[in-house]
C-alpha cells in the first residue's frame, strides 16, 4: 500500500498528492440540503453534481438530491444564463421544491456568469424562491463552500428589520446530523430556543419507513431564515465554516454575533454551555453535570492507555481543532495536525490549544494546506501510535500498520457514524471509547501470549 511514497520529503509547489480537502461546491450542496424543501442546484457541467451527490451519499448512506445546469461546450462559450433559466423552470415543474439553492462551479465562475442578474431576471412561480452563492472550486475548500451557501441564504432571505423574537440563531457549522441532534438536546436542556441554519438532520439521517420522500420533513424552514434578522443573538460554530455566515448576518441584519469553535471536548462543551447559560439565565441542569462527570470518570479510568501515545489528526480545520482539544484532554500527544483547507488561522488555533494544555510544540507539526502524502511522509520519518481522521487515512494506516479511528468528513467506509455526535460530552465519550478500543486491540494483537491481559 502506497509503496511509491518515499521517506525523504521533496518540497512541492505545483503538485498535490492525496488531497485532504475537496472543492467548495460540495460543501454548498450539503448546506442547502439542510433547508426545508430546498433543492440544491449546481451551476456548471453535470459531472460536478454527480460527483458531489456521490460523495455525500457515500458519507451519509442517504440520498443527496441536487440538480445541475448541465453545461455543454456551447453554454461554456455563450454563458450559462439560458441553462439556469431552463433548469429553474424544469425543477419547479417537475420536482416542485419551495426553494432552489444555486451554487456556482469553477466552470461558471471562470466564464464570469453573473448569477445575481440571472436570478433577478427569472420569472418565478408564486411563492417560489431562488438563492445563490459563489463557490469557485479554486478557492478555499468544501468547508468554505458550506459557509458560502449558508451566507447565501442569509443574503437572500434574512430580513433586516425582522420582528424581534425570543430566540437565538445557531449556525452549527460543517457537522453531521448526529451533531445537530446533540446541539438540539443541549439547547432544550438549557432552555434556549434557536433557529438552526442549516439543519441537515432528517434530510441526511432519515428513517426507513417504506416511503421515499424527495423532500423529507425537517430542515430549516424558509420563514425561520427570514426571521433570523430578529434573533437576540447568533452563535456561529466552527471558526472557518461559520465565519462567512457570521459576518453576513452581522453586517446585513445588525444581529449581535459570536463566532465560536465547535463545542468539542470537555472544555469546548463547557464553554458552549456557559454561553447558553448566559443567554437563558438558567443554571446548567444536573443531568448535564452528571453526564460531564461520567465522561471525566471515563477519561481518568482509562488515562494510562493514552499517556505518551502519539497521534496524527487530520481532516477539516474546525473538526481537527476540536479533535486536538479532545486528544489533549484524553492525555494523548498530538504529533501531527493537518488540514488540506488553506488558512493559517487553523495553525494559530491548534497552537493555542497546546499552550492551554502546557504541552510543548517540539517535534509537533501543524499545517494548513497539507495533503495526506505529506502527512504520510512525516509518519515515515517519525511514526505515530494512532491516526484520527477521515477515510482516506486508511491507506496510511494500512501502509504503516497504525490503528485508526474515523472522525470527520468524509467517512466513506463506515455505517452509522453520522448518527453519533463528535460535539458535546457524548462526542468526547465516543471518541475516547473508539480510541481506547483501537489502542487496546493493537496492544492485544502485538503482545506476546503471556502478556495478554484479560483484565485491562
Amino acid at each position: 500500500m502506497l509503496d511509491q511514497t518515499p521517506k525523504e520529503i521533496v518540497v512541492r509547489e505545483g503538485l498535490c498528492v492525496n488531497p485532504l480537502k475537496t472543492c467548495q461546491p460540495v460543501g454548498a450542496l450539503y448546506a442547502a440540503l439542510g433547508v426545508s424543501r430546498c433543492l440544491p442546484h449546481s451551476h456548471g457541467s453535470q459531472g460536478c453534481v454527480s460527483y458531489h451527490r456521490t460523495l455525500l451519499t457515500r458519507h451519509f448512506k442517504e440520498p443527496a438530491m441536487a440538480s445541475s445546469s448541465s453545461f455543454t461546450e456551447g453554454a461554456s462559450v455563450f454563458g450559462g444564463g439560458a441553462n439556469l433559466k431552463q433548469s429553474v423552470k424544469n425543477i419547479f415543474d417537475v420536482y416542485d421544491p419551495d426553494v432552489i439553492a444555486v451554487h456556482t462551479t469553477c466552470l461558471s465562475e471562470t466564464i464570469g456568469d453573473d448569477l445575481n442578474s440571472f436570478i433577478q431576471e427569472l420569472d418565478l412561480p408564486d411563492g417560489k424562491i431562488v438563492v445563490h452563492c459563489n463557490t469557485p472550486s479554486y478557492v478555499g475548500s468544501h468547508v468554505t463552500g458550506f459557509g458560502q451557501m449558508v451566507a447565501g441564504f442569509i443574503r437572500y432571505l434574512a430580513q433586516k428589520d425582522a420582528p424581534k423574537i425570543d430566540k437565538i440563531g445557531l449556525f452549527p457549522g460543517f457537522v453531521n446530523p448526529g451533531d445537530i441532534r446533540e446541539l438540539k438536546r443541549l439547547l432544550a436542556l438549557m432552555n434556549v430556543t434557536a433557529i438552526i441554519l442549516p439543519d441537515p438532520s432528517f434530510a441526511l439521517d432519515g428513517p426507513m419507513t417504506g416511503t421515499y420522500k424527495m423532500f423529507p420533513p425537517g430542515g430549516t424552514p424558509i420563514a425561520d431564515i427570514v426571521a433570523l434578522g430578529g434573533v437576540k443573538k447568533v452563535l456561529a460554530l466552527g471558526l472557518l465554516a461559520s465565519k462567512e455566515p457570521a459576518l453576513t448576518i452581522k453586517s446585513r441584519c445588525g444581529v449581535e454575533t459570536e463566532l465560536l469553535p465547535l463545542p468539542m471536548g470537555v472544555a469546548g462543551t463547557d464553554a458552549f454551555l456557559l454561553k447558553l447559560k448566559e443567554l437563558s439565565s438558567q443554571p446548567v441542569p444536573p443531568e448535564l453535570e452528571l453526564e460531564r462527570g461520567r465522561l471525566i470518570d471515563l477519561l481518568l479510568d482509562s488515562h494510562q492507555y493514552f499517556y505518551q501515545k502519539k497521534v496524527a489528526i487530520f481532516g477539516d480545520p474546525d473538526t481537527v481543532v476540536g479533535l486536538v482539544a479532545m486528544a489533549l484532554e484524553m492525555g494523548l500527544t498530538p504529533k501531527y495536525v493537518a488540514t488540506g483547507t488553506p488558512g493559517e488561522a487553523f495553525v494559530v488555533e491548534a497552537k493555542a490549544l497546546f499552550a492551554a494544555h502546557h504541552e510543548p510544540l517540539d517535534g509537533v507539526r501543524i499545517k494548513a494546506g497539507a495533503d495526506l502524502f505529506e502527512l504520510h511522509q512525516w509518519i515515515k520519518n517519525e511514526p505515530v501510535d494512532l491516526l484520527i481522521g477521515t477515510s482516506y487515512g486508511k491507506q496510511i494506516a494500512k501502509a504503516e500498520d497504525v490503528p485508526m479511528v474515523r472522525a470527520g468528513f468524509p467517512i466513506l467506509d463506515r455505517y452509522g457514524h453520522a448518527y453519533h455526535p463528535l460535539i458535546g460530552y457524548p462526542g468526547t465519550r465516543r471518541l475516547a471509547e473508539l480510541a481506547l478500543g483501537a489502542l487496546m486491540d493493537r496492544y492485544d494483537r502485538d503482545c506476546a501470549d503471556e502478556d495478554l491481559d484479560v483484565v485491562m
Binding site: 488531497p19 453535470q46 460527483y51 425543477i91 471562470t110
Partner: protein, 520 residues
C-alpha cells in the same frame, strides 16, 4: 396508462419533446429507434457525469504504471480517487499509482494568470518523487476555458525527461456525458501508447481484453478463465492494466470487447491500423460466458482449444451449479430494472435470466444508439453540435498490419460469430419491456411506483432512494463493495448478493408492530 404515457404526461411541453423518444416499449420483431447520446435536460437530475469522468475516471485512471495528473482545482482529482473499485496489483516494477491522486490543485491566481507553469512544476515534482515512465494529464473545465496548452506542456515533458507524456483535453463540459471522455481517452491511447513496443514474444492465441476495468476483480476472474483454456492475455484495457502492456497490444491475434461503449473506438482503430479483429463478448451470465468462450475457440479454430473450452465450461458450470440453483430457488419470478452506464444494463440481463429474474426496464446513462440498436445504425447517426467537438481520429493501415484470418475465413467467421458486430440492448429484451435512455430522478421514482420491480440495479445516487421506497437496490457500478460478478464464480456471487438483499431480515422490521395493529 402505460409507463411512458404516465411519465411524459407530467412533463412540460419542452421536456416532453425532449424525452419522448428516449423511452420505448420493446416490440419483438420490430426495428426500433431510440434517442441517445443527446444533451441532458438542464435541471432534470440526470445521473450522468462528465467528459473528465469518462476519460480520467474510467479509461486512463486504472493504468497502474502511469501517473495521471488532474490539471485543475482539487475536486475533480479528489472525486475520482480510489472510488471506482478498479482493482490493481503492483506491476513488474512494483508500481501501483492508482492508490494515488495527483492534482495541480489550481488556485485563483492560476486561473487568472494561467496554469501551465504550475502543471510544468507538478510534472517536475512527479518525476523527482515518483520517476514514472509515463505521465498522463487530464484537463478539467477551467483549463480549457483559460486556454492552458497542456499538449505543449506534455511535449516539453517528453523532451525534458525522455518519458511518454499524454495530454487529454477532457474538460467536463465537452460532449453530453462521460462518453465523450471515453472517446478522447481512446484517441490518446491510440496516438501515443498502442503499437509503441514491438519487443518480446507473445504466446500463441494472444488476445487483449478491451473494456474490462476490473471492478471488484471482474477482470481477474475473466483472465483466470481465459488462461485456464490456454489464451495469452497481452493487455487489459484498462483494469489492472498497464500502459506497458497496451504498448504491445497491437500484436495480439484478437481483441475481446466487453464494454462496447467505452472502448469500441480503440477496437475499430486497431482493426484498421493493425488488422486485429474484435469480438464482442460478455463474461457476465452463464450462457453469455459459454457463448463468448465458444466464439473465441471458433475464431482460433484450434481443435485442442475447442475441446479445452468445452472441458473448462463443463468444469466451471459444475462447480457453481448447486449454489446457483439454491439462489435461483429464492430469486425465480422476481423482476428487475437496470440503469447503468453503457454496457452493464445489457450484460446483466443475461445473468438475471440465469436466476429466473425478468428485466422490466433497462437503460443506459450514456449509451449511444448503437449500444441500444446495434452497430448497423452507426452510419445513420447524425452528428450534432456536441459530438462534432470530439475528435474522430482517422487511422490507416500501419506497416505492421497483420490479419490473423485469411480473407475467406474472415467472411465465414464474421457471419458465424459476429466479428466486429454488436447487436445492442433492445434485441436482448423481451416483448413489453421498457427501454429508457438517461433515466432521470423523476422517471426513476415513477418507474418504482408504476413498474414495481423487486430489484433495481443502479448507482449510489439512486441506491437509497430505491431502498427508502422499499425496493432492493444493488449498485452495478461498484457492486456494493462486493464482486467479482464476472465469470462463473462471479455469477454465484451475484446470486448470493441478490438473495441477501431481498431477504435481509430488516425488511421484515420496517413497520413497527403498533402500526401493524393500527392498519389491521
Amino acid at each position: 396508462m402505460d409507463f411512458k404515457s404516465a411519465v411524459l404526461g407530467k412533463y412540460n411541453a419542452r421536456i416532453y419533446k425532449n424525452r419522448k423518444d428516449h423511452i420505448l416499449e420493446v416490440k419483438e420483431g420490430l426495428v426500433q429507434k431510440i434517442d441517445a447520446n443527446t444533451r441532458a435536460v438542464p435541471g432534470l437530475m440526470t445521473n450522468r457525469g462528465c467528459c473528465y469522468a469518462g476519460c480520467k475516471g474510467v479509461v486512463v485512471g486504472p493504468l497502474k504504471d502511469t501517473c495521471v495528473i488532474t490539471h485543475g482545482p482539487i475536486g475533480c482529482g479528489f472525486y475520482s480517487w480510489g472510488t471506482r473499485r478498479n482493482k490493481a496489483r503492483p506491476d513488474a516494477d512494483g508500481n501501483n499509482f492508482i492508490q494515488y491522486c495527483f492534482s495541480t490543485d489550481m488556485q485563483e491566481p492560476d486561473i487568472v494568470f494561467g496554469g501551465e507553469k504550475k502543471l510544468k512544476k507538478a510534472i517536475d515534482e512527479v518525476m523527482a518523487i515518483f520517476k514514472p515512465k509515463r505521465i498522463m494529464i487530464c484537463s478539467t473545465c477551467p483549463v480549457g476555458l483559460i486556454g492552458d496548452d497542456i499538449h505543449a506542456v506534455a511535449s516539453q515533458a517528453e523532451k525534458d525527461y525522455g518519458i511518454t507524456c499524454v495530454a487529454f483535453s477532457c474538460e467536463g463540459y465537452k460532449g453530453v456525458s462521460q462518453s465523450a471522455g471515453h472517446h478522447i481517452a481512446n484517441n490518446g491511447l491510440m496516438k501515443k501508447i498502442i503499437g509503441t513496443d514491438d519487443g518480446g514474444l507473445l504466446g500463441p492465441r494472444s488476445i487483449n481484453l478491451l473494456g474490462e476495468y476490473n471492478i471488484g476483480g471482474d477482470g481477474w476472474e475473466t483472465e483466470r478463465l481465459l488462461k485456464k483454456i490456454g489464451y495469452h492475455v497481452v493487455a487489459v484495457f484498462t483494469g489492472d492494466g498497464s500502459a506497458a502492456d497496451i504498448a504491445r497490444s497491437h500484436r495480439a491475434d484478437l481483441n475481446l470487447v466487453q464494454c462496447h461503449r467505452s472502448i469500441n473506438y480503440v477496437a475499430e482503430m486497431m482493426k484498421t491500423a493493425f488488422g486485429v479483429n474484435w469480438l464482442k463478448v460478455n463474461f457476465i451470465g452463464l450462457s453469455s460466458i459459454a457463448k463468448s468462450l465458444r466464439d473465441m475457440a471458433t475464431f482460433f479454430g484450434d481443435p485442442e482449444i475447442i475441446e479445452r473450452t468445452e472441458a473448462v465450461i463443463d468444469e466451471e458450470v459444475k462447480a457453481v451449479t448447486p449454489e446457483m440453483a439454491a439462489y435461483k430457488s429464492r430469486l425465480q419470478g422476481k423482476t428487475a430494472a437496470i440503469f447503468v452506464g453503457g454496457s452493464r444494463s445489457h450484460h446483466y440481463q443475461d445473468l438475471l435470466r440465469d436466476f429466473g429474474v425478468k428485466t422490466v426496464l433497462a437503460g443506459y446513462e450514456f449509451g449511444h444508439r448503437d449500444d441500444y440498436e446495434g452497430r448497423e445504425v452507426i452510419p445513420d447517426i447524425k452528428e450534432d453540435a456536441d459530438s462534432k467537438n470530439i475528435e474522430n481520429l482517422t487511422v490507416s493501415p500501419d506497416r505492421r498490419y497483420r490479419a490473423f484470418l485469411s480473407p475467406e475465413r474472415y467472411l465465414e467467421l464474421k457471419e458465424a460469430i459476429g466479428l466486429e458486430e454488436y447487436a445492442g440492448l433492445i434485441r436482448a429484451m423481451a416483448d413489453g419491456g421498457w427501454v429508457v435512455d438517461d433515466l432521470n430522478h423523476f422517471e426513476t421514482e415513477e418507474m418504482i411506483r408504476l413498474l414495481k420491480p423487486d430489484l433495481f440495479f443502479s448507482g449510489i445516487k439512486d441506491k437509497f432512494v430505491a431502498q427508502k421506497a422499499g425496493v432492493v437496490c444493488r449498485q452495478l457500478h461498484s457492486y456494493d463493495y462486493s464482486g467479482p460478478y464476472a465469470g462463473y464464480r462471479g455469477a454465484a456471487n451475484f446470486g448470493r448478493d441478490l438473495t441477501m438483499g431481498l431477504y435481509a431480515p430488516a425488511w421484515r422490521l420496517v413497520t413497527p408492530p403498533w402500526r401493524e395493529v393500527e392498519s389491521a
